[in-house]
Amino acid sequence: MPRTGVFICHCGTNIAGTVDIEKAVEASRNFPGVVHADDYRYLCSEMGQDLIKKAIEDNKLERVVVGTCSPRMHEGTFRKAAAEAGLNPYLLEVANIREHCSWVHKDIEEGTPKAIALLRAAVAKAVLNESLDAPELEVEKRALVIGGGIAGIQAAIDIAEAGYEVDVVEREPSIGGRMAQLEKTFPTLDCSACILTPKMVEAAQHPNINLITYSEVEEVKGFVGQFDVKIRQKARSVDPVKCTGCGVCYEKCPAKASSEFEMGLSKRKAIYVPFPQAVPNVPVIDRDACLYFRKGRCQICEKECPPQAIVYDQKDEFIERRYGTIIVATGFDQMSPSQYGEYGYGQHPDILTGLEFERLFNASGPTGGKVVRLSDGKPPKKVVFVQCVGSRDKARGMNYCSKICCMYTAKQAVLLKEKVPDAKSYVFYIDVRTAGKGYEEFQRRAAEEYDVAYLRGQVGKIFPEGDHLVVHGVDSLSGKIIEIKADMVVLAAASIARADAPDLGRIVGINSDSYHFFNEAHPKLKPVETHTAGIFIAGACQAPKDIPDTVAQASAAAVKAVGLLSKDFLKGEACTAEVNQAECSGCMYCEAVCPYSAINPVEIEERYHGGTLKRTVAEVNPALCQGCGSCTVICRSGSVNLKGFSNEQILAEVDAICLQR
């Protein structure tokens, strides 16, 4: 029987309040194998750890059980202390007598025997513990950033500046993302392009950054330090090396399609760059719109292209590379308000969403920067903004607040006043939420200096009447029904997760919340980590957020990625599964349930009646195994065991609890 020591923590009164520590120590002394038992006020303190270390040395302890908080809190702390005293860290066992006991009991009479039972179980398990070693895993010194918006660009620049290679995969023909679509940014009214394009150029020119545009991630295999990624580079139909970006092709192209960048408010050519400052400035042929691809003739771009860069028979190509870490920064979409029949979106050209309205201000936008009604080209004199369209709506939309609408509405109302000085803005709001540096001041300026009328209430219906749109709403503060004959209506549509976010989540191996926003590992303390080691998230793919928050999160994710890349080796999981191949029948059910593809069939030779017999059995790759235990559960012959959590150990714990007297 190994010499075992038991240490019980008071955790102030957290444990001592509902567990009689003295009794627990006394009881522990009588457990089989226990040669030493002690208690301390705060075991996790330096003094507490020293107490354990000293006892290990003085009493020649071979196993240690600590009765403390959850192993999620301090298992690492105590294992490190044990290792410093020369004990293999996996010979230390934690009995969770706080979360599993003292916190859930009120009565010391009930808490104490339960704590003793948990300690007895931990001792029974510890006796069967074995020394384990965590494998060392190599780290590929290259990062992948998925998404080339401001979050992806910022993260890539930060990682590149730290001296590591980064690949940025962007689905669209150009990086820039949503921020490229904006005219101005709140609350400073900086020109969005003026602050974004230098970053886009920096990313393009940085020797450590490799932009892979018009591409999508198709497959991610492997694990932290060694993600094997397959990227589909869609056929551009243009040779990026030959192309000089002169633009003759899209000037001459006769075919048109709706412009995604302009939110469908204007047309682009079949061969196009999404916007003038595109990076890379290499056009793409939209094969669904191109006359040559649809009908087999035209080829004007090919004839006109001075450097002969058009390649019609280009095929999708696949890039397969290994990365040490991945940052997901895929951004957000705007909800289409067409399901809100009362707002008439889609029924009238002068009812727009916030992002559509934003494009009207832009010099390269659908109206050349003139804020006019799309119906008749006249500047609008009365504009009604409706807030919370699809946000804060658990019945028909999203239950959350989209966070940015209050501010961009104030911004657009201010910009409108500057473009059309005699225009009057009305904002129907439920609450004005302006938490952020300089935000409240900006919104008040809109109301006070730019004469924006804030009406506290909602809009019941919008319908056209002659030249106008009649907006029927209410101001709940005065209790008056309000009717406004507006020239234009702007709906602050909810920010939502990308429609294919769950698909990407499945490919990359991270999960998302009920709205399909990617989940952070901890809402407060791990805001950019995910539950999958080595994969980080940044920007509006995690939750709706403004540019400053997005950039901050991107830099945070970059630091996490760099921290990982700076290591030559990572410690892997020590508690991995192992197969007793003598008992394994080779049914391979374990292979089917393994989420990490860590189990493979192998052929072994066995002696059998004097001859040899070849048969297939399962084998675990310990580098891939994450110790989830699925295989041990499915195994019919019980021949798979999880190191550190073997069937024998678990049963010993059960026996210790059930067979106590």
């Binding site: 919370c388 804060r392 019945a395 028909r396 209430g457 029927h472 209410v474 709940s476 209790g479 029904i481």
Partner: protein
Amino acid sequence: MATSNKSRLVDEMKMQSGQDPNNCYQCAKCSAACPVTAAMDLLPHQVIRYLQLGLEEDLAKSKTPWICASCFTCAARCPRDLDLARMMEGIRLVMLRRREGNKFGPADLTPEQLEKLPQQALVSGFRKYNK
């Protein structure tokens, strides 16, 4: 939003309608959508606010619950998934029961009447006139 006054009317209305006025965040979309606000002394969202505050006597004086036509536009538009039309009906039922008292119950009717009268009319009658 906590109710400041304990109100029997609110409790009974909740039981009748299955709707909790505390789920309302007062966006007033119901009032913006309601087609008969012109005839109301309290706007629909104000009725909910009065329920939240437990202003029973003021509600008893209001014409609004009686003007509500149960067109359910408010319920269709409500972002909080509340059915204000049902709440209005709840208020009306509570008021009726209070005013009209215990007029008749199943025991007051002959077996013949019980058999002949339409079930719906009976149930509706009991709901209004039987405590």
